[in-house]
Symmetry: C2
Subunit: 691 residues, 2 copies
């Protein structure tokens, strides 16, 4: 009831229909009643369990099992880093695509992994009990310690549990309103099976990104392997329905939306609007220009820069859309009204008012400190001043050497035991390092650090007296051996003694700035994070009291399920249809990238059914991280592969705009048509029962 009031308010502002498909629901708290009311449809617990255990969290995306032998369907852009890592000047897999004709040809993705959520455990009362009576700063430290302890105990316990050893991760829902342990089965051997050429996977490139109508075959196929080096057995796979959905069909999306900020206070949103988003965009836009010009210096430079550039341009489009949304008075006004409504309800209940206090004012106060600490924290601790893969390796080695010597609960959270296998995988993966690119990005970030912190900042005076950004970057990169995985392995295994003894200039650089970076992090955690977390918990409890869990928690790259329908929208007075067809791809093509159709598709043209459905739009509420999510019908079949949203979907970071927000998926029809006629991938089709 209360939620309806809230929705009605938003709906009024956006002239939306009377109900909303918004909401990124957990599997343990799925709103069956709401779904039934809206569409007279429901899903069973068995359906939920099957979908949950067929859904995969990749390191950067979502995916799903589509055969009993570990076959995984996801987007092309989720595998682009893997394609890139296997590419050379001679063999460019990003450009040319890849198909393993046999299992032996499947290529290991060095930094990829596949997690499946097997179980969830509510630990809210345990965390709350541990924090009772502590001040904000002490509570912030204790919260981390407690979560580390709970994870550690959980992993120990799981060794004797029904699913075998699991990875346990604590999950914070509703800004501290609930704490859970999520327990994953992890596949850390993931291999590449198929990817089309990028020119068709991302037809239209950056100009078309977040646009619809669209013609992208943004798919790739991976396979999970077990520790025995054999394809994983995955009986809980989802069958693809080659016919795809029809307009108006109810569809579900299971996946891992990365991050939303819908429950932030107005003061926090203003910090994003006034500080974070503009500064990030300025830095990223310059880096984009540098990347593009770097790519023009040679064919090899162009190849090297393609994947980082694609990633950056995507992020720029997202952040730009987010800034637009934050600058939209309609959004901010609705947020102010939501906040005022909740505060009024709290004030009207003396007991609740007493328990809640004024956490909104506390968060507002923390924003002033956030503004002051934002630049040093961003440049020193968050890496904006040291943009370099080699530096990241160096910082990992320097910090891990120090942290691994401490008690598990006393460490920086990212070095707790439960996190170390992932840290090690990323550190030791045989990913190529490109010195020219490393020097450019490191010099760029040092130069910006000097600009933003000012030439008189201590860290700048420390690094840039004898050196310029260019000379410092050149010395650190050219002198470093960290590009060699064997060297990294030796330092990782050698621990503190080996790292301390190293004179690698990148290690020396990371070491020389570590104390300052840790100091600003501690300051940030104590002065910004601690009061924000404490206040957010109070708001969360007040919200539960007033609205229950009728609003879904913010996204945080944990598993969610949402529902919607296959539907277009009304843009500037005309209807956008929910489906595109193959014929229009050829009409829209030009002679030049990114609108050039690859040769394989030009050659196959006459054999293809030009009426085949290509991409489609739905009302599902998704954001980045949902890429590669299966779009599922009520009978549990895959009827689409989510890969994007329309331009309005970017405002989904802050609210769900029913009238305009649309998710965008690849239709199964074009996947089957392409695999059969363009790529002749009969083996794959057979394994997916699509032959």
């Amino acid at each position: 009831m209360r939620r309806c009031a809230l929705i009605a308010l938003i709906a009024l502002l956006v002239s939306a229909p009377a109900f909303s498909d918004g909401g990124m629901w957990t599997f343990q708290d799925f709103p069956h009643e709401q779904l039934k009311r809206a569409y007279k449809v429901d899903v069973s617990q068995a359906w939920l369990d099957k979908v949950r255990t067929a859904t995969i969290r990749l390191s950067n995306c979502t995916a799903s099992f589509v055969s009993p032998d570990g076959l995984i369907l996801t987007n092309h852009h989720c595998s682009e880093a893997c394609l890139d890592d296997h590419s050379t000047a001679e063999h460019n897999l990003v450009r040319d695509g890849f198909l393993a004709r046999t299992r032996a040809e499947e290529l290991k993705c060095g930094t990829q992994l596949a997690d499946v959520l097997m179980d969830m455990e509510d630990v809210t009362t345990k965390v709350t009990a541990a924090l009772r009576g502590l001040d904000d700063k002490a509570a912030n430290d204790m919260r981390k310690k407690t979560l580390t302890q709970l994870e550690q105990a959980c992993e120990e316990d799981s060794k004797h549990g029904k699913f075998g050893p699991l990875k346990c991760e604590s999950v914070d829902l509703y800004q501290g309103g609930q704490y859970w342990l999520y327990k994953y089965h992890r596949y850390d051997d993931v291999r590449l099976v198929f990817a089309p050429e990028r020119a068709i996977a991302a037809f239209g490139g950056d100009p078309d990104n977040f646009q619809f109508p669209r013609w992208c075959l943004d798919m790739s196929v991976l396979r999970a392997y077990g520790p025995d080096g054999k394809p994983a057995s995955t009986p809980n796979f989802l069958q693809i329905n080659r016919a795809g959905p029809n307009a108006g069909d109810v569809v579900f999306v299971s996946g891992h939306p990365g991050s939303t900020d819908r429950l932030l206070t107005v003061a926090q949103l203003e910090t994003l609007r006034n500080v974070d988003r503009p500064l990030w965009l300025l830095r990223a836009s310059e880096l984009r220009g540098r990347y593009i010009q770097f790519g023009k210096t040679s064919a090899e430079a162009a190849r090297i820069i393609e994947d980082p550039l694609n990633t950056l341009e995507n992020s720029i489009k997202v952040r730009r859309g987010e800034l637009d949304a934050l600058l939209d008075d309609r959004l901010m006004q609705s947020k102010r009204e939501e906040e005022a409504a909740l505060r009024a309800k709290v004030a009207a209940d003396p007991q609740l008012a007493q328990a809640t206090g004024d956490p909104w004012a506390e968060i507002e106060k923390a924003q002033l400190l956030e503004h002051q600490l934002y630049l040093p924290y961003t440049f020193l601790e968050q890496g904006a001043g040291f943009n370099s893969h080699l530096f990241s390796y160096a910082r990992t080695l320097v910090r891990a050497a120090a942290e691994r010597g401490k008690d598990n609960t006393a460490r920086l959270r990212e070095y707790r035991d439960a996190a170390l296998p992932r840290v090690q995988q990323r550190l030791l993966a045989p990913v190529p390092a490109y010195p020219a690119l490393e020097k450019m990005t490191l010099s760029y970030s040092l130069e910006r650090m000097r600009e933003w912190l000012g030439p008189d900042a201590a860290i700048v005076r420390q690094l840039l007296v004898k050196d310029s950004p260019d000379t410092l970057a050149a010395r650190a990169v050219d002198g470093s051996k960290l590009g060699d995985p064997a060297v990294r392995k030796q330092l990782w295994e050698g621990g503190a003694a080996a790292v301390d003894a190293s004179h690698d200039p990148m290690i020396e650089l990371a070491r020389s700035v570590d104390a300052a970076a840790r100091a600003v992090r501690k300051q940030y955690e104590d002065q910004v994070e601690a009061p924000e977390e404490a206040a957010a918990e109070k708001i969360a409890h007040a919200r539960f009291k007033v609205y229950g869990t009728s609003v879904s928690p913010d996204a945080n790259f944990t598993l969610r399920l949402n529902y919607g329908t296959v539907q277009g929208w009304r843009e500037d007075g005309h209807e956008v249809e929910p489906f595109t067809h193959l014929a229009r791809l050829y009409e829209r093509a030009t002679d030049q990238d990114p609108f050039r159709v690859p040769d394989s598709w030009l050659k196959a043209r006459d054999s293809l059914d030009l009426q085949t459905r290509f991409d489609l739009s739905t009302t599902n509420d998704i954001v980045g991280g949902n890429s590669g999510s299966p779009t599922i019908d009520a009978s549990g079949h895959i009827v689409g592969l989510m890969f994007d949203g329309n331009i309005h979907s970017i405002s989904g970071a802050y609210w769900y705009d029913t009238a305009l927000n649309r998710a965008v998926a690849v239709d199964p029809a074009i996947m089957v048509e392409a695999l059969r006629k363009v790529y002749k991938a009969d083996g794959l089709l057979g394994e997916m029962h699509l032959k």
Copy 2:
């Protein structure tokens, strides 16, 4: 009285002292009473006349006469383009500086000119009469036509006047509240006499730009020549006082502040905040990255890019500061309150309310159209889609060919007779063109046009079907002969026939987009500019009724005078002193640009008085365009050379923040010390009576 109320409001918000030094006053409406009240000081009409006629408007800056033989003092950064135009791979004047030992060695600045304001005439009643009874759109056209007619008649009349032939320019003060004719004596032969090395002129480079304390010798010396090729006779010069000012001294700044937006409505400020500034910054930041990487491809590329990069980085810092100011709720809240106060006063006076109507609502309505037209107008008409000097030449040639055939009052305003000499000077100046840079900037801007207008926009489909941004830019630049001034001259003199017959690919490109660009310009003028102008005039008249001219008009690169004192400020709880000294320059220097002191200063170090004052800060209210302005004491002597403001001064675009806004000048003491001991410029010192 009323102004005091307004100031008190702002003062309250910024905890400023009880009076303000803000205000960019015209010479015809200088606030003597206010000055006397604040400082018990006044200036005579003779003082005003002398300062006015000793002040120079350069094409991009301010300057002043400092000898009777046409010697001009301005900033180094105002002459950087001229230094750059005379530089080659072998002789880099930007890097090495320049000193003409004889007049014969003085170097002509091809696109520079020096205008001196001889007379001002109020034509408000004439313009108002011409517009009476017209609707907004017709009034907007008629306003331009009338102003062109008035200028034309004025130039004719001046031929028989006491000052000889003058350039007449219409000036709009108070957003249409007043119209004036400003009458200039023009020197179109301006030559370079002296410039120091950029490393000392802009010590600290972009990191230190808009910072204080500061150590920049941002000076250069030019000379105006008459049509006879002899140095101009300028008896009305200002004498430099080598001792400089003392802390607390009252000082005046005469100059041409470029642009402020203090009288805009809240709706217009929101357009700047939400649309214009963010989009501009995104584009400029990428271009910055491209420039920097371009510069790294060779020593010559580094030289070529230096001046454009300096200009761009300066603009980025300004726009970034402006966006920060617009995102500052303190500013917006004060603007809302100012607007509400004026509206309340209008509403309280039935007659005024009747005459005024609701122009604020009309402006708000126009903003919706502005948002819609912003992108096509910016890319097509304002050149953001065609960033190339050669394209600018081509557009000028194509448009001038069409416009010069029309009646003077029927032309696009920038091609009216009064403007043509300046158009011709810019078109025909022997400025070097660099094809690699041209291709890069043109490709960049085409690519962004495709991104922002979308791949399906008509102009994008027209240009980028067969071509990519790179191939189109390469074809247009490599095939064009417009880099040769002789070719441009021949097309200019050949008029429409020659231009129409040209197959130069850049001319063809400009021609192919001209109709679309003109169409969006017309749409913008009719739908945005016309209602905005009409509404702004109504607000201006209401403001005069309520507040008189107690608030100064917005800056628009016409001559203004303001007063202030030599003063530091309080930053983060500590006092910033108003003077810097030479000793600290050497302490602050590093081994690397932009903090490397040039060799000449290292060599001269032992001979220099390290206690010499270097730069200084004052409370004068200045913005970009004031660069090079003389800072003058009450006795009419130059006691400083304005070159910058502190970081807070950037918010001066929207308000004057008494507590924090400071202007930054070069102290005469360091100019004399450097000319004497570092540059041994005895002749110059003698001519300025400083020996």
